[in-house]
Symmetry: C2
Subunit: 237 residues, 2 copies
């Protein structure tokens, strides 16, 4: 394996979405900066400058693996951000130079969306910084590094458009066995709609890739819901 030389001109950021059964969440890292004896806290997207010999998709995969310990995550590139002003905040640049030990000028970042099952216990093996899930609705009022707010919002837009055309992507966010109402809640969350229970059942019934299991929920204080699974092989192209 060759030496790990970084390329300090291009980075990759990942907008990692999860779903806890009720809300759409995004995974962010805490950043604590000590400046002249005062502490400053904000959040940032998981991301990194790329390696000199690394493809962009590989960089995104690496970042997610370093952060969560997972492989085979749904990833898709959605936009690049290169406004020179995005590295215009001296706090961000100083922090970067400290953590990377490199001289940092302008950085163009390529942003990816990742969808993961929130129930998998994440091995947050990583760094000093801790990863936590935040409700996407809170993003617009959070303190975020660089232009990460803009990136998150554009990532959201991207999955909305995208799951319109391929509903399959949604299943990356659900547990392996799920109920129709979990699916409906998620669907409505991303599409910003409130769909009718009966009509939604009909819609799902004609998705061949949603298959009914011979199982129901356990230990719920009401009628137990039927469980379903997603079968990728049954997608019709």
């Amino acid at each position: 394996m060759s030496e790990q030389v970084y390329n300090p001109h291009v980075s990759v950021d990942c907008v990692v979405f999860g779903f806890d059964g009720e809300q759409l969440k995004v995974l962010l890292l805490e950043r604590n900066i000590t400046e002249q004896n005062t502490e400053f806290n904000d959040k940032k997207l998981p991301g990194s400058i790329i390696l000199e010999e690394e493809d962009l998709d590989d960089a995104a995969t690496r970042i997610l693996n370093e952060l969560t310990g997972m492989r085979n995550i749904y990833l898709s590139q959605f936009h690049s951000f290169g406004n020179p002003a995005r590295t215009g905040n001296p706090r961000d640049v100083l922090w970067l130079e400290k953590t990377t030990q490199l001289k940092i000028g302008r950085i163009v970042t390529v942003a990816y969306v990742a969808l993961i099952k929130i129930d998998r216990k994440l091995a947050f093996a990583s760094e000093v910084s801790k990863a936590k899930w935040y409700d996407v609705k809170l993003v617009k009022d959070m303190n975020l590094a660089f232009d990460h707010r803009e990136i998150i919002l554009k990532g959201l837009e991207h999955i909305r458009r995208n799951t319109d055309l391929n509903p399959h992507a949604l299943f990356e966010l659900l547990p392996r066995k799920f109920t129709i109402s979990q699916l409906r809640t998620l669907y409505d969350m991303v599409h910003q709609t409130r769909s009718d229970v009966r009509n939604f059942q009909k819609k799902v019934a004609q998705w061949p890739f949603v298959v009914m299991l011979d199982e129901t929920e356990k230990n719920v204080a009401h009628r137990a819901a039927r469980l379903y699974k997603f079968d990728r092989k049954k997608i019709n192209y």
Copy 2:
């Protein structure tokens, strides 16, 4: 205005589409390289490394303006390409270093799609290289620099998906006054379909932004078709 310093790590490439009434075309530059007394010819996308203080969208706008003399071109970023192997051909790197006078390593390129009316006389003011329209169907068998074939094909995919959702973009490609059958030919070209004449008329009739004019074609050897125009203000959001 500040000095024009280039950033040799990031470039922008534009996949410029046009429509001649029958075929979908892409605008390419000829590249002639003399190597050890033999000439080598191929084509490339209009593109350039970015300026140190330039946003990505601005770079795309600049490139198109330098090439065509036009402003207000429909432009949309669609993907970034960063495989280290994309600058793996020594011919490409030597050519770049010669034309830019810079030491070139790896370059990540951000690709844009542009749609223009082929009937506007392009002021191909530019460079030594000449721009010409090529049928997109020929792209897969052409000699292209870098990974430009891949970029063009991905750009095509992008406009297909995109004009599904906003048919408006199509009108960027048509002359100001057009017939329904020109619109239909174009529509079928991008969607790879053959739509029915009558059904298509009905579809268009309920697009408020396609407005009928009190004019017909002139000098055609058959019944003259009615002309229409596109009215951007009548788009319903």
